[in-house]
Subunit: 323 residues, 4 copies
């Protein structure tokens, strides 16, 4: 193995730069040449490759976003697109690729590596933490910290006005961010896609809280909640709780950005580092992860299809601690 | 003068606690007794008064929100409500009041002090910075910093994806937060209630930016913009700029919270401190402010009716620096 | 079991309040009465107990420090001191204690519970992360994030001036904070108590970096490093590297404070919650921890005497990624 | 005027990048060519010039430090050094220079512009805020916010342990940072170079605080305080206050770094913008500033020699509010 390529794909996540840095430096340490591909599969199709050396990744570990940029690629879903991508990889004499992204990225990698003989290793980078095969994905810890900081601020105003707030956090199919945000911010309730929500139970909780002297409440709702996110849930109960003047806040895209946390920087560094090590040891077409603090790999097939869900015990604890 | 009361009213703003602390401690220094009234005029009507001594305001300078809580009071707009409030002030033998809030708060103070012989001093606390008679209101600097931090994070993702973002910040009638956020975050454009927006001009700017190689853009929109906030503006241009995948983010209530900035803590301390000093010197029914770094007072009448607007020069500069 | 006591002891750590909250609320859920003891063993000796109910721990999850205050107690090391403490526990009819702290706290708990028949459960709260029996201690993640934020800022100035900085972080006997700070901040080198430092190797690294065009360097040094912390190491090499104008910064006590991170809040919530559960299940005189994301308990004896050390693999990785 | 140069010199300060950006973009708007000089007068002597266009200053407004790097130049204090600098300016056909820095930077500019016929405009960039001719210097607000955030964290631990902390902030000759940090963090006392410190008075204050039930205290000390900074002051009183276990923390170089605050970004944008405007209007050899929110210029001579000091009224207020 002499030359590898690295790229980021799908939604950006804080810590992706730390992963890119780790790939480039570990590769350099092992005398490999590294090419960075811009905008994921789009750049692979269009031939946007650039040589990356050690100094090119200096001073990026603390930056949000991704210096390689990212995109979702429709063209890569077509045989023609993949053929163009393969041509460029061959033209640059790339022996293997490291793909940093989520489910869609790994799906692309799996399909491509079955058609062309170029091994891939996937590095889990997505704020949603919903990838099987790793306890944490890159960006999740930062997103949760950002959401908690936002809720801490909203609580100042909720507390000052005795108000009820519905705060929507990211997570289209997954409640990880919502659950951790709710536990960490001491929210009154949390509504996630993975658990049925009984709206009558929620009303009961809120009425009880009020009776107990809890003057304000924050309810954390995952974006993908079946009742329509924070706005949907709020609409269902606002009549009965009008005296608490319910407000809706959608934290939004700022959860994707910001300097990565310590955990995300260390995690991304380890994953990027070991992705290169595993390639050199001959592994291929697997996603790397950390399970129980050990490096773990699983075939793309499994990573893509298996489900990972928040623990029941955490969901139960959240409700006990909420009051 | 022996006893004064202090309260916060209207929307909460970071730094209100620093103002309360300064009032209590300056009063104590001058051997005055201080009562805190909870939830503004509501608490005045309901008789929620509590004695506050020096140690009661320890360790609050850094906290967002207001320890006295706040509210908007419909009842205080009625003669009956004000009569009840006056009764309580007399029962507690209050010689004067310090009211921390915005336009509505000062209006209430003016009406009340014309009816009852209890002097008021107003302290400008509102994130919007739209009060005449002071260069800065308490909470404005914190709100702008919070908005800028949010835009910094959104920019990470905008940059990574080459996207166009419309970011809505607070300001129902005032563009101060939007203008300072736009300058401070290096936004491409800013749309505020005080200036006409030509949607064709905006499209032209965005097209030019793209032609010049500016791959992403952030447009800051004030909540009260006549085209309907960020969502309204985005809807008007999204067809033509679909390739930039325009996104809308409403930063929302988190702008009201958080630990106050240095400027807000120092400003609030000065305003609270001098509000007591001016009361002792016999001033009444004025709002205190800081103009050109000097303490300034103006009659409630003026403070309520006169307009303060962002400088033309700053608006022009914003567009020159945007590129 | 009807009544339990909870206290914090030793050095304070961010997240202790989240643990206290979780203890109080889980106990309330289980119909137990909870007493908070102020200032750890000192308050136990002096009888500073207070009843804590659910609402008493509202709005503290986000606060640094500990609302129960903390202390190191010399008196508790004497039989007389412990006898007084036992008298108070009996007077308050306390059936069991939950002690939040580090090695010294657990040692006190072990000795006491051997002398008196009152079961203890220890909750690991110390920023140093050097307790056996848990992957993370409460406060570690926050301390590392604080240290990394500080290094991020120092790097701005190091980079602007092409300078060499020695940054000292906390850790008298343990290099966890230093190692994670170094990896997370992309430092050039890290010097920890657990590994021998060859000063000639360090000089070589710095010279090589310079030759390679790395214009500034940050070296992270653990407080307890055998060469005398950052000042000691700097003194040893400053002559040879004078052109880089080496500077020393000791981050200091601010590493102990601040709002806890998401990880510390969730961790502390889980540990406090399960400490109560385990007490109810009859466990005693153990420290609770989280190992491989599962709740784990180990006898105080083991927790106190066994060593936990940073992984060799992480230390090696840090040097590979440093350039 | 067709070509101008811009550089940063002396100590770095957050917001310098915003000033560079404003200079480049305002110049471009006016069809001027801009050259950036690296490392201040050092780069001028060595000929390190680079053409800067609008896009070259994209995405830097939020970054600490200075992308042009900075240095203190001994060589520029010699006629030979300045001659070399003049040669390079002429070779690049530079018509005028904009110098961003502090007292030393302006002194260099004054001497140089008297010897060579190249006009300079100075932009005040220094965290110390000690320059005459402007209410605020670029970087001051960020430095104070950083110091206050640090004290907020230290207070968590001071409060938890009932301890006395001496916190040293930057300011070799100036107490601005210390004074604003003390007011903003609610410190018990502040010791600055501009005011005599009576150590007996300080002891009295601390004893009184203790008697009043104030269980912990934070004393802010300016680096340049005549008793030897925080360590010096602490040494003088520690015997008498041993029970409060006095601790010393030096916040250090991290005060120089970090993302600039809103105020610093807007201030730097305005100063950079108007520096170009004033050059075009024919002004030269002046420092630009903002006084009472208006653009103000004063000759280098005055800016260098006149003193600016914190207001007496603020110092007095600080002691009244401390309790």
């Amino acid at each position: 193995m002499r030359r590898i390529a690295v790229f980021t794909s799908g939604g950006d996540a804080p810590g992706m730069n730390a992963a890119v840095r780790a790939v480039v430096r570990t590769a350099a340490w092992n005398k490999l040449h590294v090419y960075g591909i811009e905008r994921g599969y789009e750049g692979m199709i269009d031939g946007h490759f650039k040589r990356m050396e050690r100094r090119d990744v200096a001073n990026i570990i603390q930056r949000g976003g991704t210096v390689l940029r990212t995109a979702r690629s429709m063209r890569f879903m077509t045989p023609e697109g993949r053929a163009m991508a393969a041509d460029h990889l061959k033209a640059y004499d790339i022996d293997a690729c490291i793909a940093i992204g989520g489910n869609g990225t790994f799906t692309g990698a799996k399909v491509f590596s079955e058609e062309y003989d170029i091994p891939f290793i996937g590095v889990p980078g997505t704020i949603d933490n919903d990838l099987y095969g790793t306890d944490y994905t890159i960006g999740f810890d930062t997103a949760v910290n950002t959401a908690i900081e936002a809720v801490d601020k909203i609580r100042d105003t909720a507390d000052s006005h005795n108000r009820l707030f519905f705060v929507e956090v990211m997570g289209r199919h997954s409640g990880y961010i919502a659950l951790h945000t709710a536990i960490g911010s001491g929210a009154s309730s949390v509504l996630i896609p993975e658990a049925e929500t009984n709206i009558e139970d929620l009303k009961t909780v809120l009425r009880k809280n009020k009776a107990r002297g809890k003057l304000f409440s924050v309810i954390v709702v995952a974006e993908g909640h079946h009742l329509g996110g924070a706005a949907g849930v709020s609409a269902l109960i606002k009549d009965e709780l009008a005296s608490m003047e319910p407000k809706v806040t959608v934290i939004g895209h700022l959860q994707r950005g910001g300097a990565p946390t310590a955990l995300d920087r260390v995690l991304a560094s380890r994953l990027g580092h070991h992705a290169v090590n595993r390639l050199l040891e001959g592994e291929e077409n697997v996603a790397i992860g950390i399970v129980n603090d050990n490096i773990f790999t699983c075939p793309f097939e499994e990573s893509i299809t298996k489900q990972k869900q928040p623990r029941e015990a955490l969901i139960r604890m959240a409700s006990i601690l909420a009051i």
